[in-house]
Subunit: 167 residues, 3 copies
C-alpha cells in the first residue's frame, strides 16, 4: 500500500464515518451534501442487483430528489420514527483511483431501535439492514470527495416494517 | 486530512480496538487505565442525553469509582455472567485537536452471548447495546491518550436483562 | 504509533476487508489464497479455546484441505444456501512484528440472511456468529501478507442451523 492509497482510504473511511453519524443523528438535511449535484443513490436488494434487475426500494437521482426525500421524511411522510445506528467496516478500493472516479466498497450493518413507548416490541435494538456500499467517488472542485453514486446493496430480503430513512 | 490528523485518528482507532478487546476478554481490571485519573464514564440513553437529562444507567467519576465497580463485578455483584463482543466503527474528530482535549466520536455495537448451559435462551449471540462513544481524550504526561470523559450514548431503550459490565 | 506500524495496520485492515468481501460475495474459490500454503484455519468456540481444548467446528490444515472444503461447498455439501455479511473491527497488533510472524487480532460480526423463498423465518438478517480473529500473518516472498494461522474464536455457543461457509 502506498502512502497515497493509505491517505485516500483514510479519507474515504472518514467520509463514511461522517455519513453514518449524520444519518444516525437524524440530521437528514446534511445528507444530500455527501453527494455530487448529479449523484445517484439507490437502495437495492442483492438478488436484484446481482441479476442486473433495476428494481430498487429507493432510487434518487441528483441532490434535488434527495432534498425532496428529506422534506418528505421531516414533513409529510407518515411513519413511526425510529433510531438508526450504522457500524461501517473499512473501505477497500475496487480499482486504482482514476481521474473520473474512485470505486470503493464497504460493508455496513444498520441497527434500528423503535421507541419503547410507541409500540409493542419497541425499545430493543434489532439488525435492520446489512449489506455493502458500492461507491463511486469523485473529487469536487473544492477538493472534497463526493459520491457520484452510492448503491446500498443489502442482503436482507425482508425489510422490517418500512424503510423510511436513507441507509 | 493532514498526516498529523491521520496519525491521531489511527491512534484513537487503536485505542478503541484495545478498549473493546480488553472488555471482551473479561479483563475488567485493565479497564480503568483507559481513563485519566479524574476521568468520567457514563452510560446514558440517547433520549436522556439529547434532552439534557442527567439520568444514566452507569456513572463513574474517577478511576477510584471505576475500580470499585470492577471489584463489584468480580467479587460482589450477583449476576449471570455473559460474553460481550464489541465491533467499533472508525472514529471521527468532532473539533480540531486542542491542548486541553481531543473530542471524538465512534459508533459501536455490542453483542452479548449468555452461556447455553445457564439458562433458556442462552447460547445465541444477540444485539445487546448499540450507540456511540462520545469522547474527550487528553494526552497524559507519559505521552499516551487517556479518556477525560466517555459517554456511551445508546439507542437501545430496553436493556436486555441487566447491564453489568462496562460498554 | 510509528509510521511503519500505521502502514502495517492499514495493510492488515485492508487484508481483512478483502477477506470479508470475498466471502460475502460467495467467491469461496478465492478464500484459500488468503493463507500461506501451510496455513491453518480453525473455527473454535471461546470456551474450548480458553480452556485449551482442541475441539473445533472447522479445522483445515493447509490450502489443500481448504480447497477441498470449497469444492464441497460448491459441489457436494447438501445445505440451504445463505448470505453472509462481515463487519470487521480495526485490527490491533498483539506483539511487535517479527521476522517469523505478525500476531494480530480483530473483532468480527457475521450476519446471515437466508432466502425468504426457501423457508419459514427466511429473509431477515440475523446475528450469526460474533468473535475475534486471532491471526498470525507472514509476509510471503511476493511481498504480500498471508495467514499462517487464523483462529476464529467465536462467542456464540449455539450455531444457528449449520455453519457451512468459512467465517
Amino acid at each position: 500500500m502506498t502512502p497515497e492509497e493509505l491517505l485516500l482510504l483514510a479519507e474515504i473511511n472518514g467520509f463514511n464515518a461522517d455519513y453514518g453519524a449524520r444519518l444516525d443523528a437524524g440530521d437528514f438535511a446534511a445528507w444530500p451534501d455527501f453527494f455530487a449535484p448529479e449523484g445517484l443513490y439507490r437502495i437495492i436488494g442483492r438478488e436484484n442487483f446481482d441479476a442486473g434487475r433495476p428494481l430498487c426500494i429507493m432510487q434518487l437521482e441528483g441532490q434535488g430528489m434527495m432534498r425532496d426525500r428529506v422534506y418528505g421524511i421531516n414533513n409529510t411522510l407518515f411513519h413511526a420514527p425510529y433510531f438508526q445506528r450504522h457500524v461501517i467496516g473499512m473501505a477497500r478500493l475496487l480499482a486504482p483511483p482514476a481521474e473520473d472516479g474512485i470505486a470503493a466498497e464497504a460493508s455496513y450493518a444498520v441497527f434500528r431501535t423503535r421507541p419503547a413507548s410507541n409500540m409493542a416490541g419497541g425499545g430493543v435494538s434489532e439488525v435492520f439492514n446489512v449489506g455493502r456500499y458500492l461507491d463511486l467517488f469523485r473529487r469536487q472542485p473544492d477538493g472534497r470527495l463526493r459520491l457520484l453514486r452510492r448503491d446500498c446493496v443489502f442482503d436482507s430480503e425482508l425489510i422490517l416494517n418500512s424503510l423510511i430513512y436513507p441507509i
